[in-house]
Amino acid sequence: MIEICNLFKQYDHQPLFKGMSLAVARGSAIALIGPSGSGKSTLLRCINGLEIFQGGCISVDGEKLYGINEQSYKRGQEIGAVKRVRRKVGMVFQQFNLFPHMSALHNITVSPTLVLGVDQEEAESEAISLLKKVHLEEKAQRYPGQLSGGEQQRVAIARALAMKPEAMLFDEPTSSLDPEMIEEVLSVIKDLVSEGMTMVIATHEMGFARDVSTHVAFLEKGEIVECGSPGEIFSNPEKDRTKMFLSRFMK
């Protein structure tokens, strides 16, 4: 479903990814774990074209993005492949990024109506059922400023799902939430996993990664140190770096 081949990316001549590869099969939910700055977020942002990369290839359901330089990105690629890739993957951000000038319902309907041309009524009934799915149907008319962090993030998930993506990218979805709200968001994500949605989740929630994901990849300094099933990684890590990282986290 998502294939990352030999990805090369640098920031101001500082290489981050030096030929990374990763494959995400359809229906699998892969948790990206690793210390801050290891490249988890950047990897997700490369997948849906919010960041450019200089070498290698990312393929989403057959749509391919290639490494390019700054100029050609601005002129051409965005309107082509990037747009098609974005249709296939939805993204949920750490800071929610709901549109503050629109109600929860409008946040969800705006893209289907304007981008896909779905008519307003249909988009709204779809949005209501998505809100039900994230247990927020009674908050449809609220504005983001009137919702708690956990509620905002759940609306953001519904908003991404409204575009009917093939895969979902979660960029540390619970990192800016108060502890008591983390669970409500994770349970929504858990539901999606059980529905068989293909997902890549960058997270610091080790318990969640272990219990919910189908695969776990440990990233450090832009490299995938180890990748395997949650059982393999958490109970029996092969690499010393993985062990060290997990021992700090799992106690």
């Binding site: 919010l50 249709r87 990024n97 709901l98 503050p100 705006v110 893209s111 304007l114 400023g145 908003r159």
Partner: protein, 507 residues
């Protein structure tokens, strides 16, 4: 209680009598001493306006440092007769008599027509020049031959002049008002059909220009006099004697001849006895005193206010549209669009609006673009404010967090759609207070367009005030009109702001 009150009363009385005393002392002081002060200090201070132009007193185009004109020579001659030096005091012509009254200078001499309403405010000497009003047309135009032919035409004249009143008195004439030489420019540009001004101006500006033509006999004879404060009859008397001496010695004629201004009418200057008398009883034109009655001035002020509002609204539309375009060019455009936008903003912010208006209205015709005054005013203001709006919008757009753009893009929206639906609505509420501020500033800056012959509220005020010599009451009323129009705007903007903000608790 009674005792206390009487004390207060006596204190008040003492204060009042003190101030009355002070006033009368300073008045007496001025009264007795202006002539003596001139003689003892050896300096005669002369108020004039060089912007009024040729041939009165103006800067020599060949040596811009030097002031020339027949009045410069006349004042020099007067000073010589008094045995003193001349100190020049540049003052806007519209307020020249007010400055005289304030005591800024000793005499005002600058083509000031002797009219009954002016005589109520100041004291005039005997006339030093007999002027008449002259029609000037384009040499190619033979429709106009005499004053009556101006009926139904568009005629340019100067602010606050007898000529203006004569035109208004005749009626049926569209009168365009100018500072001076701009009238002839507009005549050449076909913006008006004729110019009707004092003969000295016409002969200086129009005679040497083969494209312009003086037609008909000069009409509406009147007199220029030297104005002094009412408290200075002694000075006026002394000046009268000097004018007489200069007349008799032929020096005055020499000066006027040098400027091509001497004509048979000037002989009348010699008939000084009874001349002023006759004039005052029977003014040469319909120059009545403009009484300060609501019905007379309010319609003129309201008409000015309507023009002010119209200009402000239309130019704000241009400023908003163009400003937004410039901001988008600067933020999202390619290298060249960014450069163009930046250059535009820097140039328009870095140069005075007044100069921009002059260039638009009087400069562009040189390259074949002739705008009407109203259009030039709207474009000038709009294009100027667009530069400020652009910077406000740029800041507003940049203040919307990057995450908003990313979220919209990740939902499949195009850049354009993101800008329109996500970024701009949020930027709007950020920039609204600054926009309101700018709009109120623009509203007041619209008074600047009076330099290109648009009579809006401020110009209406200054004309009425100069004619009635009442700057205070009219000023308060005009200020109230401005405030009455800008304050509801502030209120509305505040309401809109809180309406936009009501959604978000923690934006």
């Amino acid at each position: 209680m009674k005792y206390k009150r009487s004390i207060i009363r006596s204190i008040l009385f003492i204060q009042i009598s003190c101030s009355v005393l002070c006033l009368s002392i300073s008045d007496t002081f001025a009264y007795q001493n202006t002539l003596e002060k001139i003689k003892s200090s050896g300096v005669l201070t002369w108020g004039f306006d060089a912007e009024g132009g040729a041939p009165y007193a103006f800067h020599d185009p060949k040596h811009p440092q030097k002031l020339i004109g027949f009045e410069v020579e006349l004042v020099d001659a007067i000073a010589r007769e008094l045995g003193v030096k001349v100190q020049r005091f540049q003052n806007a012509w519209d307020s020249i008599l007010l400055s005289l009254q304030r005591g800024d200078f000793d005499i005002a001499l600058n083509g000031i027509e002797i009219t009954p309403d002016r005589e109520q405010a100041v004291l005039f000497t005997r006339p030093y020049y007999v002027y008449a009003e002259q029609i000037v047309v384009r040499a190619s135009d033979n429709r106009i031959h005499r004053f009556e032919d101006l009926h139904g035409k568009k005629v340019g004249t100067l602010y606050n002049t007898v000529a203006k009143r004569m035109l208004e008195e005749m009626g049926g004439v569209t009168v365009n008002l100018y500072g001076q030489v701009e009238a002839f420019k507009d005549l050449l540009l076909n913006r008006i059909d004729a110019v009707f001004v004092d003969l000295p101006i016409a002969s200086y500006y129009a005679m040497p220009n083969p494209q312009l033509h003086l037609v008909g006999e000069p009409v509406g004879e009147g007199y220029y006099g030297i104005a002094v404060r009412k408290e200075d009859p002694a000075l006026a008397e002394e000046l009268n004697k000097i004018i007489e001496r200069l007349l008799r010695s032929g020096e005055l004629k020499k000066i006027y001849d040098r400027w091509g201004l001497w004509n048979a009418s000037q002989e009348k200057l010699l008939l000084h006895e009874g001349l002023l008398q006759k004039y005052t009883e029977n003014p040469p034109s319909a120059s009545e005193k403009v009484p300060l009655v609501v019905t007379t001035f309010l319609p003129a002020l309201l008409k000015g206010a309507v023009i002010t509002v119209g200009i402000s609204l239309l130019s704000m539309v241009i400023a908003v549209g163009l400003g937004l375009g410039l901001a988008i060019m600067r933020l999202y455009g390619n290298k060249w669009l960014q450069k163009i936008s930046t250059a535009y903003i820097e140039v328009y912010r870095g140069t005075p609006l007044l100069i921009q208006l002059y260039i638009l209205y009087y400069g562009l015709p040189n390259i074949g673009i002739t705008l009407s005054a109203f259009v030039a005013a709207i474009l000038g203001l709009g294009m100027n404010y667009a530069a400020y709006e652009a910077e406000i919008y740029r800041a507003g757009i940049q203040a919307v967090s990057k995450g908003q753009t990313e979220a919209a893009l990740s939902l499949g929206m195009s850049r354009r759609l993101t800008l329109r639906r996500i970024i701009l609505p949020q930027a709007l509420r950020i920039v609204l207070p600054s926009m309101t501020n700018d709009f109120i500033a623009l509203f007041k800056d619209s008074s600047l367009v009076s330099v290109i012959a648009v009579v809006e509220l401020t110009k209406s005020y200054s004309m009425l005030a100069a004619a009635s010599m009442d700057f205070f009451k009219l000023g308060i009323i005009t200020a109230l009109l401005y405030f009455g129009m800008s304050y509801p705007l502030s209120l509305y903007a505040r309401k809109l702001e809180s309406k936009l903000k009501s959604h978000d608790r923690n934006l």
